[in-house]
């Protein structure tokens, strides 16, 4: 009897504590949810009355803001194509071809990619990009992101491909397909869910990043949204809060949508394990 009462009180205590911690997590986000819809938004929290989309109108009419979002899209899509394509081919080769020392290669790549972090490598990456004359180009940002994300992408995909029976491709080849045909027509459709996860992860990583474009880009018309957002200041140097708030929400939307898509399709565990 006593122990059931104890369980009951534990549940209540835990619920109260969880709710408090939940509030701690929610508080900094509350402003971000209301301010975009408030045409008189300031840094202070106030519930917009009435709700208005005027701030979004201002963002859509701001050519600089829209170009920032467009640049983010160009850089993310470009990076995703290289990461998705490169990782698919490479991890398929690591899984299916007789290259010696395959697991050593995978581990070494993983080791390098966690040692060479953005902050440790910013100097040499700047110098390499500078050396090949790509400073202030979008392609530089795309290449650097692709290189940095590929090892992890390959690691995830290789795990995935190893779990698929080889007999699918083998039977295609018995029926006369070439290895390359067996890859494109038989293996690729089966690997697709793994590629989707890697592609979404790479997109979200590039879309949200600040440091790499901040270091490699100079001209304001090439900046992605993450860097462009820092120019929404009035001439007096105060932030134009209404514009910033609405822009932040627009800029966050793809990440939220992709996250919901992945957790609906594959469950949390994928996303939880692969953010690096």
């Amino acid at each position: 009897m006593r122990s059931y009462l104890g369980l009951y009180f534990t549940r209540i205590g835990f619920s109260v504590a969880t709710a408090l911690i939940g509030v701690f997590f929610a508080l900094p986000l509350v402003w971000f949810i209301f301010a975009p819809f408030n045409p008189r938004a300031e840094l202070g929290l106030s519930i917009p009355a009435p709700f208005s989309l005027a701030n979004f109108e201002a963002v859509f009419q701001n050519g600089f803001a829209m170009r920032g979002l467009w640049n983010s899209l160009v850089q993310s899509v470009g990076g995703v194509i290289l990461v998705g394509g490169g990782a698919t081919l490479a991890s398929y080769a690591l899984s299916r071809s007789p290259i010696p020392g395959k697991s050593v290669i995978t581990y070494i790549l993983l080791l390098f990619s966690s040692v060479v972090s953005g902050s440790a490598a910013m100097v040499p990456i700047f110098l390499i990009i500078n050396g090949i004359g790509l400073i202030d180009t979008q392609i530089a940002v795309i290449l650097v992101f692709a290189g940095g994300l590929l090892p992890t992408a390959m690691f995830i995909l290789r795990d995935f491909i190893d779990s698929i029976p080889k007999s699918y491709e083998e039977s295609a080849m018995v029926a006369g397909a070439s290895p390359v045909q067996a890859f494109f027509d038989v293996a690729l459709p089966v690997i697709r869910p793994g590629i989707v996860v890697v592609v979404v992860w790479a997109f979200v990583s590039i879309w949200g990043s600040f440091l790499i474009p901040f270091i490699l880009l100079r001209s304001s018309e090439k900046m992605p949204a993450s860097v462009a957002i820092y120019s929404f200041y009035s001439e007096a140097g105060t932030p134009i809060v209404t514009l910033l708030a609405a822009y932040s929400l627009l800029y966050s939307l793809p990440v939220v949508i992709l996250y919901l898509f992945v957790s609906w399709k594959f469950g949390f565990r994928f996303f939880g394990g692969i953010k690096a």
Partner: protein, 303 residues
């Protein structure tokens, strides 16, 4: 008999080439190049930009110069600050809070569980500049949400980013990253057979006893994984820069921000590279430890 394989060695190499080139150029080359540059006085402008001199260990001596090691704004002070930042925001903040949340979420109503998970994950997935700006508004002196609450509760307002900048980035990083630990521990706890806990309930065990004797011992392996990963991430995180730019007066200048200032504000690439090498050596220790743990677990040794 020669084993049958789907791809010939040639095709395999061709398939590996695009990824290999990109990783070679932007992961492996920077690793070696940063070591090389750290022995030079390379800068962004002037003669040493095109024709740097070999300076041997001079950059390292300047980093580890005992006379300035503890001076604020110098390498040593930044390193100590970073270690405190990682211990407080990752180990104590993210891991402990994530563990507490995950444990409590096992026994709270479903709707509360989902709500809490949603906001914590929101803090984790939203782009860093958006999060930084939301926190800027949250901590604002004049109208910020936090000061509004402080006032309503009868406490004095605080100019948090100026008076407690270090604690601001510690709480910020805890807030930002706890979701990962929470999800990891949550799935670890749910993989424990419920009968273990039911048996303990029948014996009248308290929640703390169940945690200490059943929950924690069974997920110890996950704790190790979590600690290594979040330590590495927090050690390399640049996001606090968006909140404080390393200031005021270097009080939040953790190593990634310090590296950025030395290299891209002072244009001293040689010294910036030397810091990069030290950071990479520390990363290497963590990464090797992580791989060792993973391999041990893959081989089926109880973790």
């Amino acid at each position: 008999m020669k084993s049958f394989s789907l791809l010939s060695r040639g095709t395999g190499v061709a398939f590996l080439a695009p990824a290999g080139l990109l990783i070679g150029a932007f992961v492996i080359a920077p690793f070696f190049w940063v070591i090389f540059v750290s022995f030079t006085n390379r800068s962004l402008l002037g003669r040493t930009a095109v024709d740097p001199d070999f300076v041997g260990l001079a950059n390292y001596f300047s980093l580890f110069d005992a006379a300035t090691f503890f001076t604020r704004g110098e390498f040593g002070s930044s390193l100590i600050l970073t270690i405190q930042f990682v211990l407080l925001s990752a180990v104590v903040g993210q891991a402990a809070l994530g563990m507490l949340l995950a444990w409590m979420l096992q026994s709270v109503p479903k709707s509360l569980k989902h709500l809490t998970e949603t906001v914590a994950i929101g803090a984790w997935i939203l782009p860093e500049v958006v999060i930084a700006f939301a926190w800027f508004a949250f901590l604002d002196y004049e109208n910020g949400t936090l000061n509004m609450i402080m006032e309503a509760l009868g406490f004095p307002r605080g100019d948090w980013l100026l008076s407690f900048p270090f604690w601001a980035i510690v709480v910020f990083n805890t807030w930002r990253g706890t979701a990962f630990s929470m999800m990891l521990f949550n799935s670890a706890f749910s993989s424990i057979p419920p009968s273990y806990f039911q048996a303990a309930d029948v014996a009248g065990a308290s929640s703390w006893q169940k945690f200490r004797d059943i929950g924690f011992p069974l997920i110890r392996g996950h704790v190790v994984t979590d600690l290594i990963l979040i330590t590495m991430w927090s050690f390399n995180v640049f996001t606090p820069f968006l909140l404080t730019s390393g200031g005021p007066s270097y009080r939040t200048e953790i190593l990634p921000i310090y590296t950025y200032r030395i290299a891209f504000r002072d244009f001293d690439f040689g010294k910036g590279a030397a810091v990069g090498v030290v950071v990479m050596l520390i990363n290497l220790v963590f990464a090797l430890f992580y791989l060792w743990v993973m391999r041990r677990r893959a081989k089926g040794v109880a973790a």
